[in-house]
């Protein structure tokens, strides 16, 4: 019974053979699909932590009619379809998509923890990341560090909404690891 219900709704997958993604020189992602040109699309990961390369929603992101009144409940910025798996795309398309995903999902990877100190109700971090050296501040709230149990990855959220990640936490420098574990 439940299977029947679940199967009553279709997921519109994007056919890798039919879709042509492109990044313009102005850093805008476009899509040509089944003869339709989408001048500006956005990629939304369904499972950004546990399965970042699968089930990526492609949504229309054309803001050009932003001042026009649209029919309520009929949002033009609708979902065009879902990419089932990036691996199904040829290497050129995959590279384009990966590059764009990197633009949208920005979370420098911490390579080394230089110092972290608690003061006045906040935690001040100094780290090296793959994008350069960085200082940021988090609250003392345990939710500012999320441990995704199904993957060996930590996500740290700072007070401004920036994100930093530690990939391969179990292999991270043991002293720093112990220190971070205390905050979780």
């Amino acid at each position: 019974m439940s299977e029947a219900i679940i199967e009553s709704i279709d997921i519109e997958y994007i056919d890798p053979k039919e879709a042509k993604f492109n990044i313009t020189t102005n850093h805008i992602l476009t899509l040509d699909l089944n003869g339709v040109h989408y001048p500006c699309v956005q990629l939304h990961r369904s499972f950004p932590f546990t399965n970042p390369d699968k089930y990526i929603a492609v949504r229309d992101d054309d803001d050009s009619d932003k001042d026009q009144v649209r029919e309520i409940g009929n949002d033009k910025k609708k979902e065009i379809g879902i990419i089932k798996d990036l691996a199904e795309f040829d290497s050129v398309s995959r590279q384009i998509l990966e590059k764009y995903l990197e633009l949208r999902y920005f979370a420098p990877t911490i390579t080394k923890l230089i110092s972290v100190r608690e003061e006045f109700g906040y935690r001040y971090w100094v780290v090296n990341t793959d994008k350069g050296d960085c200082k940021f501040t988090t609250t003392l709230n345990r939710n500012s560090i999320v441990n995704l149990s199904s993957s060996d990855r930590l996500m740290i959220y700072d007070v401004d909404g920036n994100r930093f990640q530690i990939v391969g936490f179990s292999k991270f420098d043991s002293k720093a690891r112990k220190q971070i574990e205390m905050f979780m």
Binding site: N26, D63, V69, E71, I72, G73, L103, Y105, F120, N162
Partner: protein, 759 residues
């Protein structure tokens, strides 16, 4: 908020050459478009151009006139400015979320420049961090917890205790007297051993007893010691009473101050801070501060005094033995210090964390017990809890084992100290006896010294734990200080007035966003006559509730103004305003307590009769009177013993009692069955009579009595008029009514929508 950062001179010259005009705005971006961190990357606006700088070089320059539709696009962990450049859409700048508020203003400025409007931005966002040290400023202030006068926090909190200082002072004096007594006793013991049990002459201070019988002297000395013991005992009781008085009164005062402050802060603060955090600050942190005051005043002073007294006495008795006693002290100090910093601290912190985890899990599982039962996942939940319990138990065993391991080690050092006293003291006595030296150490002195040894070591543990205790308490002090120094974002000004509301409301070019860079309402203009009922229609997120929140002044507008009877609501006293506005929500909160107290929450002095009348008008009397305890029925936490419709009617009765001039109904009748809805509609109709009302409803049939309807979309009012006018217009409202009618037909109902269309 700063929008004109200084450029390094070398970059400035390059920028000026490209702009050919002055620099008007300059914001650091912190990264290049690939996300690499750069300190030399900027977004700059000149008089007619914008440009970006990367790595100290001008990267891109465009005439503002060639661009349009600047939008701030928040992504995940970063953001962009998107616009149309020469007809092509482009992402022109990428920056971290730290700069997003600044770029929100930049987008506004650029759009105004494109439209040839004079640049006017309401730059009312504060900087978040201290420009000297980079620490987060105390919310709502420009105060840096570090740079704004060291010790200011401790000083401020101590100043709160001023009134209770006499209690503290008396406690301190009493405890010092107690310490002194224990040292005075030592001389008595020495005299008993030397002169009563032995044959040595009485020490000088007891010479007045010379010539008396040994037993007399013994009784005198013994009773004196017992007397001192009793005095010590009673003084201890008085000291405890004073200390309790100090801590209890001071705690109550501090808690009151924190609670008052939280109440005075804006909805914005209270909704962004977690309730747990606020509760912690009100209870745990204030207790922590209390124990901190006790620690630094009573315990520290007592310990220092005892240590110095013991040291002086030991040196006076026998300097060599005193030095021998002091030798193990640093070792004891080191061991204890190691135990505190390296072992206990971490282990106990870990223990607290696993305990917190299991508590949170338990709280979650208990709150969602119905869901657990419905889906039969008890086993899964139990096994997860068992796992957490095991972790807690393991950690607890480790903590206690280590604690038990280190305590005896510290004790052994103390015992070694005593052995050393035995050895050196014994040798000194023996040497004295052999040399027949009357000045040599006596057995009494040795006894006295042995009793003092522990008093040298005891304060050491206080000294060791003190930095840790103070460090922990300082966090609490800072957190409480931070909350006490918050400046309410919404408050009364000196010239705010009491205003008797008539009910005319004007929105004049109102723009507002919960984040100033992301407006939820854009340039809203309307006038509502006294007694008019306005129906607000639109999909979720279109700004309906935000609009009503602004009428209540839960938030202040970013731009424009809201006027009630011609008076800007920012000039009306907050209390005066809210007491004249009634709100009925979809989910109404009932406080734990008697039902009638909940009804007269808005008017605490309402009589029983008034309560019943209000309940009758609200169609609530019928169900209340059928309850076994009637109006005295105890409302459980969150009103969980009442149904949605019952809570709704209680809330309406509450609103009726307050007799508001302005009424806000936010989805007040959704999620109710047809019969209940009819009863509530009837009650609402009575309530609305003669009051200016804003009613939000998704079910359009509930708005059929509205004088006018405002249709909202994306923060704007896109249609305005009566039901008939809007139906004739065949715009959004029309399509919405049609959609609901189709839906109702599908359900096989002759829905009120069709009645509505027929009206």
């Amino acid at each position: 908020m700063k929008l004109d950062f200084e450029l390094p001179e070398s970059i400035r010259m390059k920028v000026l050459r490209s702009l050919m005009t002055d620099i008007l705005y300059c914001i650091p971006m912190g990264m290049d478009v690939l996300g690499n961190k750069h300190s030399d990357s900027y977004f700059i606006i000149g008089e007619d151009k914008w440009l970006t700088v990367q790595d100290g070089e001008v990267e891109k320059v465009e005439y503002i006139k060639d661009c349009s539709d600047f939008i701030l696009k928040p992504m995940i962990g970063n953001a962009f400015i998107k616009c149309t450049v020469n007809g092509n859409t482009a992402m022109i700048a990428r920056f971290s979320m730290t700069e997003v508020v600044r770029f929100g203003y930049i987008v506004q400025i650029l759009n105004q420049m494109v439209a040839d409007l004079p640049v006017s931005v309401y730059n009312n966002d504060r900087e978040k961090t201290c420009n000297k040290c980079g620490r987060i400023l105390i919310r709502g202030t420009n105060l840096c917890p570090k740079c704004s006068k060291k010790g200011a926090s401790v000083k401020q909190i101590l100043s709160l205790s001023k009134r209770y200082l006499p209690f503290l002072f008396v406690t301190l004096i009493i405890y010092l007297v107690c310490v002194a007594i224990t040292f005075i006793e030592v001389d008595y013991y020495a005299a008993i051993v030397d002169s009563c049990f032995g044959d040595l002459p009485l020490p000088e201070k007891f010479q007045f007893l010379a010539g008396r019988d040994k037993m007399d002297i013994f009784y005198y000395l013994m009773f004196s010691v017992i007397g001192m013991g009793l005095l010590h005992f009673f003084l201890g009781i008085v000291g405890s009473i004073c200390s309790i008085n100090f801590t209890a009164r001071f705690s109550a005062k501090l808690r009151k101050q924190v609670y008052d402050k939280v109440q005075s802060l804006s909805v914005n603060y209270v909704t962004t801070a977690s309730p747990g955090d606020i509760m912690n600050r009100t209870f745990s942190d204030t207790s922590e501060i209390n124990s901190f005051l006790q620690q630094i005043t009573i315990n520290l002073v007592k310990s220092v005094f005892a240590f110095i007294m013991a040291l002086i006495m030991l040196l006076k008795m026998d300097w060599l033995t005193a030095i021998v006693i002091l030798v193990p002290a640093p070792i004891s100090l080191l061991i204890q210090r190691y135990a505190w910093t390296k072992v206990y601290g971490k282990i106990y912190r870990g223990l607290r964390i696993v305990r917190d985890k299991s508590n949170s899990f338990l709280h979650d599982a208990m709150s969602g017990i119905k869901v657990v039962k419905v889906f039969g996942t008890e086993e899964r939940v139990t096994s997860k809890f068992n796992k957490l319990s095991r972790e807690t138990a393991d950690m607890s065993i480790r903590a206690n084992t280590l604690a038990n391991l280190f305590s005896p080690v510290a004790g052994i050092v103390m015992t070694i100290g005593q052995y050393l006293v035995y050895i050196t003291g014994g040798l000194a006595i023996y040497a004295g006896v052999v040399a027949n030296d009357p000045e040599a150490m006596t057995l009494g002195t040795l006894t006295a010294m042995l009793s003092i040894v522990s008093r040298v070591y005891e304060p050491l543990s206080t000294f060791i734990s003190m930095p840790q205790t103070i460090a922990n308490s300082m966090i609490a002090v800072q957190r409480v200080y931070e909350i006490l120094n918050q400046v309410p974002e919404i408050g009364d000004k000196n010239d705010s007035v009491q205003h008797r509301i008539d009910g005319n409301i004007d929105f004049e070019d109102v723009s507002f966003g919960y984040n100033s860079y992301d407006h939820v309402l854009n340039h809203i203009n309307f006038h509502v006559e006294k007694g008019e009922m306005i129906g607000l229609v639109g999909r979720s997120g279109s700004g309906k509730s935000t609009l009503t929140n602004l009428v209540c002044r839960f938030y202040d507008v970013n731009e424009g103004s809201i006027k009630i009877d011609g008076v800007d609501i920012r000039n009306i006293q907050q209390n005066s305003l809210t007491s004249q506005i009634g709100v009925v929500l979809q989910e109404n909160f009932l406080f734990s307590g008697p039902l009638y107290e909940n009804i007269r929450y808005s008017k605490p002095d309402a009589s029983y009769e008034e309560v019943i009348r209000a309940a009758k008008i609200a169609n609530a009397h019928e169900f209340i009177i059928n309850l076994p305890d009637g109006y005295d029925t105890w409302v459980a936490e969150g009103g969980s013993n009442f149904s949605g419709g019952e809570k709704q009617r209680i809330a309406i009765a509450r609103a009726i009692l307050s007799d508001p001039a302005i009424l806000i109904l936010d989805e007040a009748t959704s999620a109710l069955d047809v019969e209940t809805e009819a009863q509530i509609q009837e009650a609402l109709q009575r309530l609305i009579e003669g009051r200016t009302t804003f009613a939000i409803a998704h079910r359009l049939s509930t708005l059929k009595n509205a004088n006018r309807l405002f249709v909202m979309d994306k923060g704007k009012i896109v249609e305005m008029g009566t039901h008939d006018e809007l139906i004739k217009k065949k715009g959004i409202y029309f399509s919405l009514v049609m959609a609901q009618r189709t839906m109702a037909k599908r359900k096989g109902k002759t829905d009120t929508v069709s009645e509505l269309l027929a009206n």
